[in-house]
Amino acid sequence: MFKTKIIYRLIAVFLVFAIMVLVPFSFTIIKQVNNMIQEEEKFEKPRDDEYARMHQEFIPKLIDQMIPYAFYILVMAFFLAIFFLRNMLVSLRQLQKGSLALKDGNLDIRLEVTSDDELGDATKAFNEMAVALKEKTLELRQKDRYINAMLDPLWVVDEDNNIVDVNPAFTRFFGYRKEDIVGASVYDFFDEKNAGIMRKQLEDRRDLGISSTYEINILTKEGVQVPVLISGSPIYSDDRIIGKIGILKDFREQNDLRNELRRSKEYVETVMDSIEDQLIVIDKDFRIIKANKIAMMNARGAVIGEYCHAVAHEKTRPCWTEGRECPAQTVFMTGRNYRTTHQHAGVAGEKKFHEIVASPIKDATGNVLHVIELIRDVTDRIRHEEEIFNKNRELVALNSVAGLLSRSLRSDEIFAKVLDKMIEMMKMDGGGIFFLDETKKEMTCQYHRGISDEYVKIMGRVRMGEDIPGRVAVTGQIITTADISKDARIERSIMKHSGMKGYCCIPIRGKERIIGVFCLFSFRTHAFTTEEESILNSIGEMTGIALENIRLYEKMRKLYEYQRKRREEEQAQMLSLSTKLGSAIELRDVLGKVLDLIKNFFGADFVWLLVRDRDENLLLKASSSFVGAEDTVVYTRGISSVEGYSLEKRTPTVIQDIRTESKFYLAPELAGMAYQSAISVPMYIGDKPVGVYVLYYLGSREFKEEDLHFLRIIANVLTVSIERSDYYSKSIMEKVLSDSILQSVAEGIITVGTDARIISVNRAFEKMTGVQAAHAVGMPICDVLEFRDENIDFRISLGECLEMALQGSRAGKEGVLTSSAGIKIPMMISSAPILDADGKVQGAVNLLRDISREKEIDRMKTDIIRSVSHEFRTPLSAIVGMTEMILDGDVDETRSRKYLTTILSEGLRLSHMVSDLLSIARIESGMESMRYETIDMKGLLKEIEASFSSLIEKKKASLSYDIDGMPLFVGDTEKIKQLLMNLVDNGLMFSDQGCTIEIQLKKSDNIFEIRVSDSGWGIPEEDMGHLTERFFRGRHGEKIKGTGLGLSLCSEIVKMHGGSMEFKSRVGKGTEVILSFPCKEEK
């Protein structure tokens, strides 16, 4: 169909119009012209005036004619216009109304199409537009809803970073009103620092078209900084970025969490840093991942991220020497705490001893993730230990020298022994004694050790003042040198090129003069300490005095007697002092008594002992009579006192009359006692002042050199004791921790010294053996297990392990320990040496691990393998051997048949064994199901009897059963049959000819009881516990073939029925098996 176009209509109208106008117009003109022609014809001869008039009238006449037409045209045009306008206006008005409705949001408006012209098309287009607009608007609204529903604030910015739009969440979150912020710059929402971050993100990243996520603090309307996570991305229009959109996620919670995390991390670090010991955490690659401040301070370079062995030892791999293993490695391997002492280099490269306690950090499954090491500087402790050790050694030597001198009157014996003692004590290689002949001014070597007689001939005679012995004899001063061959102080000496290095020459001092000298030498360099010198001097003096005594023995018997007595007393005194002090760890208990001894020996009226604390105050430690509590400050630092003076001077100080000595302040405790004289003896260990002890006298008192000497020795003894006691109390504290670990270990631990005597045992040891720690400590290790004779082998094994350990290597052995309660426990003994810093063995640690479980498993495994292989071998013999013979043609056809029958039956036996094994496995794995039914026990027993008839006949045995009122039993028939057959079979097999088997059935109190008893060999005591173990063959198993599976299977069947199985047996009498089942409802 043709659409009517406006233009066609217009043309049609125009044509009508034209016809309507032109036709009358044409008629008019034609009529006018005709008129003119008629008039012209009328006036053939026109008169001029007429003519003229005619002409003049023509125009008005024409006009007169035209006017009605013009009017007509106007009227026509008017009607046409109205006709047109009316139609168009209707459509246009409709369109206008529709547009207004759209503007007001009425998207459902549809316009009626009244014409099929362009306006109609426009109306249709309008309708379609309205539909499309509605869809679009709905879509937009949907999107708006999404955006409005967003919980996270969102903003849209233009290319100048001014905000174009935000979502309601934004206004909610930050408190701004939307109209206030649209148009504002995004930078207005940040402080200076955050604005910088923002600028960087907006300009560097998003301008390049990169989305970015970053954390920033934004200001709310209240001016509060709120942490947010902004994810921003550019908005494109035609490949051009026209703005950016950003989602601002509330990050307060995360921020709080992070702060919390950081705080807790800081807390941990603070805790770590506040530990006075070094603390490091090491990962599996032995890299340090964490270290506290102390650890950082004690390292020479970087710590975190470095290998622990590189930091500690400057090594390229972890330590591996036995006894010095890398603690981290050990913990990673064992998963247990580990304690060791390592030698490390300090910050300045000095030697440091560190005690390391390494503990595992495990995850939930017990894997060791990291190792945490607590490293304690024990250098001082070890030094002190060494010092005390040396001091002790010297005192022991001194004691024995004193003993030698006081016991003997024979000078040659004294000198030989003293010389030997000195060589031994100083660890020298040899020495000699020169005696002075005053008349010849010459010295002769009389005793020597470690040098040849020829050499003595050359250098055995020295003139006074010559060479070292001569010089010492003149000056009376000890000469020591670490290396005589290099010592510049000694210019000329015959010893210079003799190969000797360490050398010392000690005067033997009599009461008034030098009697001779001791010379000691070593082929190694030996630096003599001042203590050693003082000890040597003491020995020289003691020897000299002793020698003089001997020389004057005859003449001065009295004096000698006095000396001897005195030496004896001193010796006794020393011995009692040493014993008291040496054995005491709790010094307090004995110090009072010791001071009493001193007081009595020297006839003093009062003795006290003060110790110096760290602040240099002098504290009361002990006194012969009570003057105050222990540890009360007697003299504060700086107060001038006799005690302080002698301690400062490092020498015994004698005060003849204390009342006149105004420079010394007397403690108020003593001021009222009117003491007159006093002697104050300082106590030093190395260079460290320990304290002082003072003897006060009411009267005046002379002090001889020998008194002073003895007082000095006592001072030494006291010093060592006090220091040791101090050290012990410290080390006890330190050991509490490690002890608690030791105590909680499941393995028995015995620590022994080099003399194989027990130093400590832990709780596990007590538990294993029943021996109390208090009883064990101090005992030789092998004697501690003497409580049972059976332990002899175990003791030997332990002894062998220990011997290895004391020689410096590790050793392990298995053995069986019998506890005091008589329980036998298989044990793994492992012994390891305890080494000191120099690698010297100081003792050994013995670990006793209970390996019963491993042994048990091991035994069961072996039994299974043995039984399987063994029990399968016999039937296999038939199968293999007989087949071979048939194939070889060894047997004829009738024989072959018999052979094949045997092969079949043995094959079946094999298959029974396999199925027995499988039954047990199936029952155990829970795959076997029960088929409960009421069992006719009488019928079942008859069946069993029938199946054993041939065996019963062969054994001349009898089988009887007693069914009490024929009870009905509910169970799995097949299984119960198997159970009873196994038990009857056992009864028949493990018995002699003519045995009797009895089966009793009884029901009482809801218990169904089956008793199977025989008059067989009985089960030996030691087998009773193992009867139901798989493959267990008792002592009788040697004689009877079997699988060791029967009772194991029985036990499983009984368990499945919810019952229990009990064995009563006596060897030689028989066995009774009692099965008890709970009664079940009849089915």
Binding site: H870, R873, M882, E884, K1039
Partner: protein, 121 residues
Amino acid sequence: MSKVIVIDDEPFILMMIEDKLKKAKIDVITLRESRNAADVIRREKPDLVILDWMMPELSGIDLCRLLKKDPDMLNIPIFMLTAKGQDADEQLGLRCGVTRYITKPFSPKALLEMVQEVVGK
């Protein structure tokens, strides 16, 4: 003709050995019980005794010890034919004077060769 005594509580083992040895012209006496075996051996003076270890009443190893104590029977070679296959068992057997320790399952042919080696063809 050589004479061999075989003692085993498993009849088919006896049957196999008897068949194999007899075919090689060796006289065989079989015993199913070890109880009176010592008497039989003393009486028969065989050239070889083949013993099972695990037998009721008197185990093979005990019988072996018994034979080795008796000066008359001391020199009779003994084969231990047993299912006990462990090294420790074999060591114990050899310590008790067993000439050969053969574990089951065994090849009758190989056993015959070993017997012939001892008793002579």
